[in-house]
């Protein structure tokens, strides 16, 4: 994030300008988040006060966080989010990685057409498909279950595309060597290709988990039962029914919902860099 890392030393004025631009844009991204955390620590009276301060005059954090955890079944929502995200991610990997391998390394008639269809799938916004998916879920009788939350995302065109592009960069000779060493095609996928594609796997996992943890649109359609709601939907229900104007508690709940993602991302970042530097073939 700073000019000191670059190989070219900048003149002081240019360095100051660069840092200013970076700091301002960084601040713009961070302000809503910091504000959320700040509100989660304030008592109700202070939240609507005309004067503005990030730091609470009166520390109300304990009450807000206790309320967030006790008034609504927030742990239940988070457990739901964990179950749904984990199921989606595992199934996505199980399906996308072999598909991507076939599209990248096997030769069969219609391969390019199939890849074209994957690209079309990539272009379609998910909302467009929500009505057919709702009807499909109804016909299958799985609405208002975990299955309803999971099934639309199991085949991810983005995952297939991402892994296919990464597999394309692995030399064919590695696949040939594996075949000569006696590995079956599926063994090549899981024992050779996926470990080499660790950076792609981590990047995809981050996208997938963040996307589905924060998803509000489809859960709103697919489930009605409070015990099945993932965190964002739960918070919304929480706001309407129980919290009313208790924004401190609402922000505390939001902070708690976002925290696992932040921790997971910071933990994965180290792996991500390691994967990037350790993956060279030649």
């Amino acid at each position: 994030m700073s000019g000191s890392n670059s190989t070219v030393r900048l003149a002081p004025a240019a360095a100051i300008l660069r840092h200013t631009v970076l700091l301002v844009s960084g601040a713009l991204v961070l302000v809503p988040f910091v504000w959320m955390v700040s509100l989660s620590l304030k008592p109700p009276g202070e939240i609507f006060r005309a004067s503005f301060s990030f730091w609470p005059a009166e520390f109300h954090g304990v009450e807000n966080y206790t309320n967030a955890l006790t008034e609504a079944p927030l742990p239940r929502y988070m457990a739901n989010g964990l179950i749904v995200c984990a199921l989606i991610l595992v199934l996505q990997i199980l399906i996308c990685v072999p598909c991507a391998y076939a599209l990248a390394k096997l030769r069969f008639p219609g391969r390019d057409l199939l890849f074209g269809m994957v690209l079309v799938g990539l272009l379609l916004p998910h909302q467009v498909l929500s009505l057919p998916l709702f009807i499909l879920g109804y016909q299958l009788g799985i609405l208002n279950t975990y299955a309803a939350l999971v099934f639309p995302y199991v085949v991810s065109p983005f995952g297939i595309f991402l892994f296919r592009q990464f597999f394309k960069t692995i030399p064919d000779d590695v696949v040939h060597a594996a075949r000569l060493d006696g590995l079956s095609e599926l063994a090549i996928v899981w024992k050779i290709m996926l470990p080499i594609a660790l950076p792609a796997l981590i990047a995809f996992s981050i996208f997938s988990v963040v996307g589905h943890w924060n998803d509000l649109f489809w859960p709103l359609i697919a489930v009605r039962d409070q015990s099945l709601m993932p965190p964002p939907l739960g918070i919304m229900a929480f706001k309407n029914e129980e919290a009313g104007s208790d924004y401190g508690t609402l922000m505390a709940a939001s902070t708690l919902v976002v925290a696992p993602l932040l921790i997971a991302f910071l933990a994965a970042q180290k792996w991500f860099l390691e994967g990037m530097t350790g993956g060279a073939v030649k």
Partner: protein
């Protein structure tokens, strides 16, 4: 150990014909090199041998067993790739152990955690470890077993690739330009090691290269390939001294063989570049031919005229022990290259007129179609052996 028989293999990629009926038989324990410029189909042939590509026509048998329907792992061949194709996420030991584990452990025994608990797994794994260590030590990479490929130098990776192929004792070793990613010094060293390896293992080697020095130094026989066809299969010295085809003569040898247009004047003499050479072509007078003469088969002569070529010196290349003298001959486009020992040619300077004598026994004559005219023939016309028959 196994002999290898390749019967009229054809392969097309769309409209491009890559292999046009290649037939070759390789003896048990032989070191055969497929030599040709890039794009001639030699790597494709090797991949077909390994079962990584499927031929459009023709058949392959290894050790008397037809393998056309067999998958790569059932063919009992091992391959060393140009890029080494090591698994980057595994240590050297795991890279080498993988082919053994895949063969000796059952699918259940290979399961990540459960497999270790099954009876026999630990014993087989220990045997694999012992063999990996022994093979690694024999190639001098025993101290690298815990490293990953990215931490190795080019030469070390090359050795690991050879070790991975060697560890399961294949009947046939296939090598696809294994030295082309190494620097010149290491290449010479690894060349000697591969030759030593072949002598030690005694199994059949098929080696693909575009480098004639590798082909000449390593092989029992060299198969010269061009445009998807085998032009000649012979021992290295025969490929050099007795090429069957103009293209073989031009591909082998550095500097390149001199090719001069010539016409038969009468029985026993040939007109070339304004001179007449006493060469018995046994072709009807007036037939245009191409005369090939290697640079070292020319020597300085005292005078021009009968039996010698005369030209002016264009340039001189000093190679240490030898000189390459480029001569401009009247009526010839390309310069004639003469290789002379440095101590006998110190007086030669650019611009000077030089007479060179030709050793008649080293002259190679080629017909207009590029085929060699052999001079041991009965009647007026030279008999030409078709390429196909030579190739077999």
């Amino acid at each position: 150990m196994a002999s290898l028989f390749i019967d009229s293999i054809r392969k097309n990629y769309g409209p491009t014909s890559v292999l046009r009926g290649v037939s070759l038989s390789i003896a048990d324990g032989e070191f055969l090199t497929l030599l040709g410029p890039s794009g001639c189909g030699k790597s494709t042939l090797l991949r077909i041998l390994a079962g990584l590509e499927v031929q459009d026509a023709g058949s392959i048998s290894i050790g008397g067993r037809t393998v056309d329907e067999l998958r790569p792992k059932r063919r009992d061949v091992a391959m060393v790739f140009q890029s080494y194709a090591l698994y980057p996420h595994m240590t050297v030991a795991s890279n080498m152990a993988l082919p053994l584990r895949m063969r000796r452990l059952s699918a259940i025994q290979r399961l990540p955690l459960l497999g270790r608990l099954l009876p026999g797994t630990a014993r087989i794994a220990a045997e694999v470890d012992i063999e990996v260590t022994r093979t690694a030590n024999s190639l001098g990479i025993g101290h690298l077993l815990a490293r990953k490929p990215v931490q190795l130098s080019g030469g070390q990776r090359q050795r690991v690739a050879v070790a991975r192929a060697m560890v399961r004792h294949p009947a046939v070793f296939l090598m696809d330009e294994p030295l082309s990613n190494l620097d010149a010094k290491l290449r010479v060293q690894m060349r000697a090691e591969i030759k030593e390896l072949h002598q030690r293992l005694g199994c059949t080697f098929v080696y693909v290269t575009h480098d004639q020095a590798e082909a000449m130094t390593l092989s029992d026989r060299v198969a010269v390939m061009l445009d998807g066809q085998l032009l000649q299969v012979a021992a290295p010295q025969d490929i050099y001294a007795d090429p069957a085809d103009r293209r073989v003569a031009e591909f082998i040898g550095s500097p390149k063989i001199n090719m001069l247009d010539c016409v038969v004047r009468e029985r026993g003499s040939i007109d070339v570049a304004g001179s007449t050479l006493a060469i018995d072509a046994e072709v009807l007078p007036g037939v245009p031919l191409t005369l090939g003469i290697r640079p070292e088969a020319l020597h300085p002569a005292d005078h021009g005229g009968q039996g010698a070529l005369t030209g002016s010196v264009l340039s001189i290349e000093h190679m240490g022990s030898d000189l390459f003298v480029h001569l401009d001959l009247a009526g010839v486009d390309d310069p004639l290259i003469v290789r002379l020992p440095a101590d006998r040619a110190s007086h030669i300077a650019p611009g000077q007129t030089l007479h060179v004598g030709v050793r008649p026994d080293r002259v190679l004559l080629f017909g207009r179609d590029g085929q060699r005219l052999r001079r041991e023939v009965e009647s007026g016309r030279a008999s030409v052996t078709p390429i196909r028959e030579i190739a077999r």
